[in-house]
Symmetry: C2
Subunit: 426 residues, 2 copies
């Protein structure tokens, strides 16, 4: 009975929050771009000014999380220090400096009847962002949503609740549009379940976090999501690859950082080039003690080389995001086999071909169905900053709306506008 | 027990169909644009050549539907005659004539590290189209999906089963990519329920039909949809409207056709101009015996005019799609009130302002959150042909992906492509 009452309360609060967010939309849309940017710059300054208070609150969260036995990586993501606070503020300044996209008119064409038809970029509306205990996301997401004219409801991991509370206060103080940014300080998980039902008020849900969080939301949500579940990225070394380039990119794509979603997890190599390149690759990967999980052919080659960290790949390896110094290797006889493997096992995040052959490069670009498809570049380059979007609120592996890094444009849509002079339907 | 077995069978068939559609995708992507267009032209010719057989099968459906007591409008939508078959074929020829959008590269920019980043337009993948007993949709949807590189599963209303069967045969004969277009001939409604669960194979569901069909699919579907539930469109006559233009557009927007989703259902009038314009409007609407459901002020004005078909509006009128010679009328004191009314009650389909005032026009365009926002034009102009998209597979009132008429572009997405020269993440 108590739980029931509690859930009802939480449902009511969720509806209240969502209504407030929806009502705030129009006030946000009326703001002059300069004023929006000024508020963002004030926010950045204030974040730096209040760093002591922020760190104080963050220390409480860190202490509680440690007491709860959360692991090192978790604590690291939760922790704010002076450098990280400075970088949060810098991020906001960068977003303030990006061109405003709201109201942008494009593709205007004159129709035979005289009317002009074009597109105007608009905010999506109300965005709910559900994320883990990473307080920098609070500021990042708030700034991106605000700049793109969206109101947002931010629900970070409950372990960051004290940090998010103070950040929420700093946001309210500087972003002076009531309810434009609502940072939740209700730890109860039920709040998320309630929020993602409210499709009359919330237009899109953006989850950021581990696979567990996102899978659960996919089950619960009645609202469309922008999301990526995992990052199983491939690098394919074509027969006509430049060997030096292939070595450099393959090493970078795996070893530059292990825990990121754009890290290559499977290396595909053309059979003609495999005997030549695998020994050199092994030398590189050995420096990082990378475990190589190999199909039959690559296993045979590397066994001859007496590669220390060698394992036989099984079927599961093609569908595993290691997030670790482990790489699966697959040998193919032609480009089509490589593409077939990628389109079967890729998580549609980022896949790259290394080749000097123009036809193969263009064919790969066309046929690989992933959010980012690359030629002669490291999959690690797939992100908003590297692409010049300025900042990203997440990555989408889905096939509707926006694919890949979601920046300001991805947080908007385009409506049709018609400029007429009295035209009617004949 | 029987039902259970039956449902299991249907589920298996659905999975089989969806897998086939997914597998066919890559073959479709490899087709040369010229070859695609040639197949479409052959299809158009064949439709005309086989008109007698089509009409023969259609007559069976019409006879059965009449025997089942379906209403006149239903029978009309179901019926094919020589003229309609000719127009179906013409539609296919027009689609063949549209530019191919698959593989189109745009927005290529050079990044500081030297790599080029751009976008490439790709098919969404597998599209399931669920529609009512309107056989022309079968050909239209098949041609649009094929041209845009998508494989499709078409499930039309069971009352059109014989017509769709023969159309499916003509499609298979001319569109020579196995399983690129699968027209279902299973009448069981369970098939739809099964199909919309298969999010591993089907990328998007496009429902076309009445509100009941779409609401049911919204409940059932695990797959994103492109849809519009209804069309509650507004025309707002601003204080600074040109009276003649306002009369012409308001009459056209309501009376050019009643049963369409882009027909204006509510007329909003600025209070300054209402006493002047309402009597003239009433004269026009009287010729069509349009029932006017008026708020207090407009009621008072038209009562004085002794308008014959006058009713008092209640709250429900603002949320009703009449699809009939009925129009609700609301008086407002300023532009913001008009926008507020529209953003509250509009179905986000199409809304238009009639004004000579530039600031008001631009403000209306920015603030109204609908798929099509118009200045000085009839809402009846909101459709794919009028917008120059060539043809549309439907209309989306949603806020992600594409808004408004969905043509070839709406059936595609844009992936990022990176053209590198060995760039890595530093």
């Amino acid at each position: 009975m108590n739980t029931h009452t509690n859930n009802t309360n939480i449902q009511e609060i969720a509806i209240q929050l969502a209504k407030q967010a929806k009502n705030a939309s129009k006030n946000l849309l009326k703001l002059h771009p300069n004023l929006k940017n000024q508020m963002l710059l004030n926010l950045a300054d204030d974040i730096e000014k209040q760093q002591d208070v922020i760190i104080q609150q963050n220390e409480i969260d860190v202490k509680n999380a440690s007491a709860k036995g959360m692991d090192k990586a978790f604590i690291d993501r939760l922790t704010l220090n002076m450098l990280r606070i400075k970088s949060m503020a810098e991020g906001v300044r960068q977003i303030a400096g990006l061109p405003d996209v709201v109201g942008e008119i494009s593709d205007v064409k004159i129709r035979p009847n005289g009317m002009q038809i074009g597109k105007m970029r608009s905010p999506i509306g109300v965005i709910a962002i559900i994320y883990e205990a990473r307080p920098n996301v609070t500021i990042d997401a708030a700034a991106l949503c605000f700049k793109s004219g969206n109101t947002c409801i931010l629900r970070g991991g409950s372990e960051a609740i004290n940090t998010n509370k103070i950040l929420g206060q700093i946001l309210s103080k500087n972003i002076q549009v009531e309810n434009a940014i609502q940072v939740l300080d209700i730890a109860d998980r039920q709040m998320i379940t309630e929020l993602v039902q409210l499709r009359d008020y919330i237009d899109v849900v953006i989850p950021r976090g581990g696979k567990g969080l996102i899978e659960r939301l996919m089950q619960e949500s009645k609202i469309p999501m922008l999301k990526h579940l995992d990052g199983i990225c491939h690098t394919y070394i074509d027969k006509d690859a430049d060997i030096e380039m292939a070595l450099k990119i393959s090493f970078n794509a795996k070893c530059q950082r292990y825990g990121t979603c754009n890290t290559t997890e499977t290396l595909i190599i053309h059979s003609h080039i495999a005997p030549d390149i695998l020994p050199s690759l092994a030398k590189l990967y050995k420096t990082e003690k990378v475990e190589l999980r190999c199909d039959k052919i690559s296993y045979a080659i590397l066994a001859k080389e007496q590669y220390e960290y060698l394992t036989a790949a099984n079927h599961e390896d093609w569908t595993t995001e290691y997030l670790a110094p482990i790489l699966s290797i697959k040998i193919v006889d032609n480009l089509d086999q490589a593409i077939e493997h990628i389109n079967t096992f890729s998580s549609k995040h980022t896949d790259s071909i290394i080749t000097q052959n123009h036809n193969n490069a263009m064919y790969f670009l066309k046929m690989v169905d992933s959010a980012s498809v690359m030629v002669n570049a490291s999959t690690r380059l797939a992100d908003g900053f590297e692409y010049g979007l300025g900042a990203e609120i997440g990555i989408s592996n889905d096939k509707l709306h926006v694919r890949g890094p979601v920046g300001l444009e991805g947080l908007t849509n385009q409506k049709y506008i018609v400029l007429g002079h009295g035209e009617i339907r004949e």
